[in-house]
Amino acid sequence: MISFSQVTKRYPGGHEALSGVDLSIEKGELVFLTGHSGAGKSTLLKLVAAIERPTSGVVSVSGQNVGRLPQRAIPYLRRNIGLIFQDHKLLFDRNVIENVVLPLDIAGLDRRESLKRARAVIDKVGLLKREKANPISLSGGEQQRLCIARALVSRPALLLADEPTGNLDAGYAADIMAMFRDFHQVGTTLVIATHDDRAIAALGGRTLHLDHGKVQEGSA
């Protein structure tokens, strides 16, 4: 599903976030990216979603060379990837269900069908009672679940999560990791950047350890 071949990412200013990374992630795998902050976890996820482009090397997702994708093709790549952010990136000028329905609006789905699907996903993350609430009134854990609902609503084959439990206390974090396990069981490919060792231990799965821009296979 995802393969990196000799990928180097150097930011303007000379900082090298990834240097000569080779890795391959199969369809349906659950992979944790670990490493201290600044080790290149976020950069790796951004390269997969074409938010950044590699300085050299080839990043390929589902057989597409993402690093060389023309600008106008990138939106269609992203529609097949669910992105979960540490800072949620919710829109506070609209309520919960409108946040979740946004990816389907963008894809041009029928409004009524979209709302139905959005409601189903909101139910799955346990926010159905808050569907009319403004996200700003939600707790941190609820906001994260809302972000997950938005990532899931278009039923992507690939989920990328950047520190999804970074700001949450242990109870919420366990909830969210349990959710990820469910997605993994229905065949979604998941790549989760985290330094939550408990979560990794609870879920099992493959671990890739990043250190100074290099990747090492680890075990849970």
Binding site: P75, R78, K89
Partner: protein, 302 residues
């Protein structure tokens, strides 16, 4: 195709919501556009009304051919002969006695004409040529003036020509003004949209991350621009309607003093529709220029 329509509908409702969310700002922008549009619009209407006034007056292009007082019968015969040629459409002979009688009765000059011991007016022909173009009128008038026994020819349409020339300058002025104010419209719209893009920075960035195309992001802004232009056009209509109501009484009073039933006419439906279409178009254009630039800025400050 259905997806496309769905996107248009979605963008339109989003645009309406955005306009409705900032009613005061939307209204002020519409008003600024309205005032700008009402200037060329008002001038256009004024010229249209003046044109109609000119058309109402007897501007039938005629050539008056005044005969020499001492013209011989043979000369008069030759002139009558010449007037039967094919370039002349219509002729009317006005003997000097009839002219004097008409003058006396028509213009309350009876006391003056009654005081005359002899008729100072010449015999005359009133001639209408076959072709009404300005060149032809001048040519025919010139040719008739050279005939022996003709004292003078006079083109009655001269004042009408001058008025038409003045109106033509006015019309050119309207187009110049309209062009300038179209630019103003684009600038006003562009500025309003730029502010909107910057306010919606987060939404734009998030939408990009979850797969929005540039076109998807642009579309609601373009609709806002077009709707804003449309509102501006309607505001201009309001301004002109109020001006029309205020001006109607004095204009009718002035016309009454000239014994005319002239009154101001509002623009035709097709003109209103055209102006609204153009204002929407220029609003859209301003939005487009502004969105292209502002989106690049948003991208750069990510």
């Amino acid at each position: 195709m259905i997806g496309w329509l769905r996107h248009q509908k979605h963008a339109l409702t989003a645009a309406l919501r955005r306009l409705g969310a900032q009613p005061v700002a939307s209204l002020l922008t519409a008003l600024a556009m309205g005032v700008a549009i009402s200037l060329p619009g008002g001038l256009f209407l004024a010229l249209g009304n003046l044109d109609r006034l000119a058309g109402d007056l007897p501007a039938q292009p005629e050539i008056s051919v005044f005969l020499d007082a001492g013209a011989s019968a043979a000369q008069k015969q030759a002139i009558a002969e010449r007037l039967r040629q094919t370039d002349i459409a219509e002729t009317r002979y006005v003997p000097k006695d009839e002219a004097l009688a008409t003058l006396g009765s028509a213009q309350d000059l009876a006391d003056i004409t009654a005081g005359l011991t002899q008729n100072p007016l010449p015999d005359a022909w009133v001639v209408r040529p076959q072709t009404m173009s300005r060149e032809e009128l001048v040519r025919v008038a010139g040719a008739l003036g050279k005939l022996p026994g003709v004292a003078e020819t006079h083109l009655d349409s001269q004042w009408a020509d001058r008025l038409q020339a003045a109106l033509a300058i006015g019309r050119t002025g309207v187009w110049l003004l309209a062009g300038l104010f179209a630019i103003a419209l684009v600038a006003i719209s562009g500025n309003a949209i730029r502010a909107q893009v910057l306010v919606r920075r987060d939404e734009i960035l998030v939408s990009r991350l979850i797969g929005a195309t540039d076109r998807y992001i642009r579309r609601p802004f373009l609709y806002v621009g077009a709707l804003q232009g449309l509102l501006g056009g309607l505001a201009a209509g309001g301004v002109l309607a109020i001006a029309g109501v205020i001006l109607r009484a004095p204009v009718e009073q002035l016309a009454g003093l000239y014994g005319s039933a002239f009154h101001l006419l509002p623009p035709a439906t097709i003109e209103i529709v055209t102006v609204l279409g153009l204002t929407a178009l220029f609003g859209w254009l301003g939005a487009w220029l502004s969105v292209m630039r502002a989106l690049r800025q948003v991208e750069a400050t990510r």
